[in-house]
Each structure stands twice: as structure tokens, then as C-alpha cells.
Amino acid sequence: MVEKQLKIGWSKTEMAQNVAMDIPDGSYVNLGIGMPEMVADFVPSGRELIYQTENGLLGMGAVPMAGQEDPELINAGKKPVTTIPGACFFHHADSFTMIRGGHIDVCVLGAMQISKNGDLANWSTGAVDAIPAVGGAMDLVAGVKRILVITQHNTKDGKPKILNQCSYPLTGKGVVESIYTNLAIIDVKKEGLFVRKLGPNVDFEYLQKHTEAKLFQ
């Protein structure tokens, strides 16, 4: 009898669902480029979220149908989007008035590294030959009320991303509220990193083994 292999942790889809569950009805939300964008597909029914994109649109709608794209109606990832009824456009300084001024409720970002005190590194490996590019990440972590991070728990070559201290240049210090990985949902508190939920077939020891920073239950 062949034993079916146990699925360990959540899929990307499930990770995005976990984040979506934690965003209250009526929130103003900025989704980072990449995996964070998936969160929009899993908003629980009955909730209305308003998406802001820092290049000047509040009320971003779904991806346009093929052939309906407008190259001048794009999101921060420079991909074509649409608008909802009730959307509005504004210039970049007004856009960052929303962001820096604390008007956005939730920002979901990817991460290269997160430290035990909520430091986030997600813009540069600091490598000598890398072209540094920061975009709006530093403004977002400095200004948005709640910063949620969605990321694989470990790097592609198996190294921990949740560390005692980030080795990469920081995006912001002590800015992360919660971390949503394939293995767990972890809250950053003053006393340390607290595991709120374990992924399917993940136990605490397994999780700690894949995490450099000390975790609390």
C-alpha cells in the first residue's frame, strides 16, 4: 500500500486566504507587488475593501479583459488594472499623503527577511552588483497602520527568513505586525514572535526548526 504523502503547510492560495481573512470590512488596502496581489482574490463575501495603488488610484478593480487594457491605467506593479465605480485618480504627492499620513489601514508586503522585533528587509540584498531599487516600500512601512507580510517561510535554498536580526538592508525597523507563511501565522509582539496558527501538518518543533528567531506559543 502506497502511503499518500502528507501535505506540509499551506499553498500560496491558502496563504493569501489567511491574509484576506484578517482584513476587516471597509479597509483601505495597499497590496505589494507579487504574492500580496493574490490577497484581492480571496476577500470573504460580505466585505468591501478599497484598494489603493501608490501610482495614483484609489478604488482599483479587477484585471481587465484581454484587449481592454489601457497602458496608462496600471497598478504599482505596472500591470493593467480597472477602476471600480467610485474610484478616483490623484498625483503622486497626494498618493503618499494617504500612505505617509496614516490613512491606509493595511499594507500587505513580501519579505526577504523579518527580524524577531518586526524589522523588515524587502528591497535589497545589499550585494555589490545589485541595482538598488526601493519604490514605495519605505514610505508604506513608515505610514500604513498595519503591515502584514506574506512570504514563504524559508528561502528557496532552505534558509530561514525569520531571523534574530536582518542581514540585508532594512526597509523599516519594528514595522511588521504579522507574518503569514506557508508554515504558520506569526504575530510580532513586544515580547517576541507568537505563533497564532500552525499550517496543516506543521507542529511547533518543526516550525521552530525552520526559524532562526525564537518562537512562542
Binding site: G59, F90, G101
Partner: protein
């Protein structure tokens, strides 16, 4: 469904607390949310700090709020205008505080408060009494003064059109301080001449994006302050 419209002026202002800092839009009567101010008079909150360009005229609107001894401090650029007697009398009697701010500095301090800018440098008021006691600093050979952003607990703003998300347009020079005040208050309360369905206001012409607005009340026939003053009315009437 997000719906920021409320059913009465009383509901719109119900959470304003004693001691609150309140920004009130308007330049003279243009843009002054007179029905919201009267609702605030009815509501009763006191010991208020009010940020507004002027101090009202006659015995209605902002002047009436001051006359009711509900304002302990005004932050404004021009506290005396034609038909303004209430503030000057209380000020000369030492019964109300005044923080006088150059008009452009006032607008920029409010914008800064809304934009997460705690402080900025401006050339306005350097070498005048209004810069006294403030940090001055030279950049590229020119002297500037450091000014702080201002935030408020509430803003009371008048606009033209609004939708359920709080997107706003304004009318002519009634726009003045409304857009920046909406950004700088924890709770922005707006009276709109007309509330329309979401999507009616072209996304290109929205002046205040809905994210800056909390409560909207339709006041389809707002009073003109100058008419009330001409009739020598006093609020409460």
C-alpha cells in the same frame, strides 16, 4: 457595503468630545459648513480648539459657536473681518486664546499634518513677531522658520457633491481649506449639497478622495452666512 452617509446633522457630529481640536473649512462665508457648526452648537461639546482661517461674522455659524463660549482657542490667519464682533470682544476681554498663523503657513501646516510630515521650513514670517521663539535655519543662504504640522480630532467641511465612499467635489472658491482639512483630521465630517451614487463623479475630477472622509450628510439648501447676518439672526434661534 461601505456607506459613509448619515441621516441627520445631529448624528454627523454626535461623537465630538469636550476639548477636541476641530478644523472648520471656509474663507469668510465661502465653504463654511454653517449647518454642521449649528449642529455642533446644539450638540454641546466645549473647550474646543478651532482651526479656521477666520472667526465668523455676525452671530451665526463659527461666530455663534464662539459667542456660546465653546471655543477656548482659535488658530487662524485673520480673526477680524467685516461684521465680526464676537471674537474681537472676547479676545479683548481675555476670554479666548489666539494663535495667529500666516495664511500660507496655516494651509501648509494642515497639509503636513494630513501627509505625515511633522515639520517643515518656510520663509514666511521670518524676521517678524510671528517667528519669535521658533527655530530659524538657513538653507542656501536664505533664512527659514520651522513650522509644525497640525492634526485635528475632527474636521467640519462643506462640499458640493459627495458619494457613499466620501469622494468630494467643491464649488468655486468654497474649496479653500476643505481638501487639506479632510486629510488632517481623525474624523472628517462633511456636508454635501448633493449625495450621488458611487461612480457618478468622474474619477478624474474628484478633489477629495473618499479615504479622507468619514461621515457625509446631505444639506441640499445650505444657508448663506451673509444672508443670516443681514437678517441680524442669532443662533440658536
Amino acid at each position: 457595503m461601505i456607506n459613509k452617509t448619515v441621516q441627520s446633522l445631529a448624528e454627523a457630529v454626535q461623537n465630538i468630545h469636550d476639548g477636541a481640536t476641530i478644523m472648520i473649512s471656509g474663507f469668510g462665508e465661502a465653504g463654511s459648513p454653517i449647518e454642521l457648526i449649528h449642529a455642533l452648537i446644539d450638540q454641546g461639546a466645549k473647550d474646543l480648539t478651532v482651526v479656521s482661517n477666520n472667526t465668523g461674522s455676525g452671530n451665526v455659524g463659527l461666530a455663534a459657536l464662539i459667542e456660546q463660549r465653546r471655543v477656548k482657542k482659535m488658530i487662524c490667519s485673520f480673526p477680524r473681518t467685516a461684521n465680526s464682533t464676537v471674537f474681537p470682544e472676547l479676545y479683548n476681554a481675555g476670554e479666548i486664546e489666539l494663535e495667529l498663523v500666516p495664511q500660507g503657513t496655516l494651509a501648509e501646516r494642515i497639509r503636513a499634518g494630513g501627509a505625515g510630515i511633522p515639520a517643515f521650513y518656510t520663509p514666511a514670517s521670518v524676521n517678524t513677531p510671528l517667528a519669535e521663539g521658533k527655530e530659524c535655519r538657513v538653507f542656501d543662504g536664505i533664512e527659514y522658520v520651522l513650522e509644525r504640522g497640525i492634526k485635528a480630532d475632527f474636521s467640519l467641511v462643506k462640499c458640493e457633491l459627495a458619494d457613499r465612499y466620501g469622494n468630494l467635489t467643491y464649488h468655486a472658491t468654497a474649496r479653500n481649506f476643505g481638501p487639506v482639512m479632510c486629510t488632517a483630521a481623525t474624523t472628517s465630517i462633511v456636508q454635501a449639497k448633493k449625495v450621488v451614487e458611487a461612480g457618478i463623479i468622474d474619477p478624474e475630477i474628484v478633489v477629495t478622495p473618499g479615504i479622507f472622509v468619514n461621515h457625509i450628510i446631505e444639506v441640499s439648501n445650505p444657508a448663506h452666512e451673509s444672508d443670516l447676518v443681514a437678517q441680524k439672526l442669532t443662533y440658536p434661534w
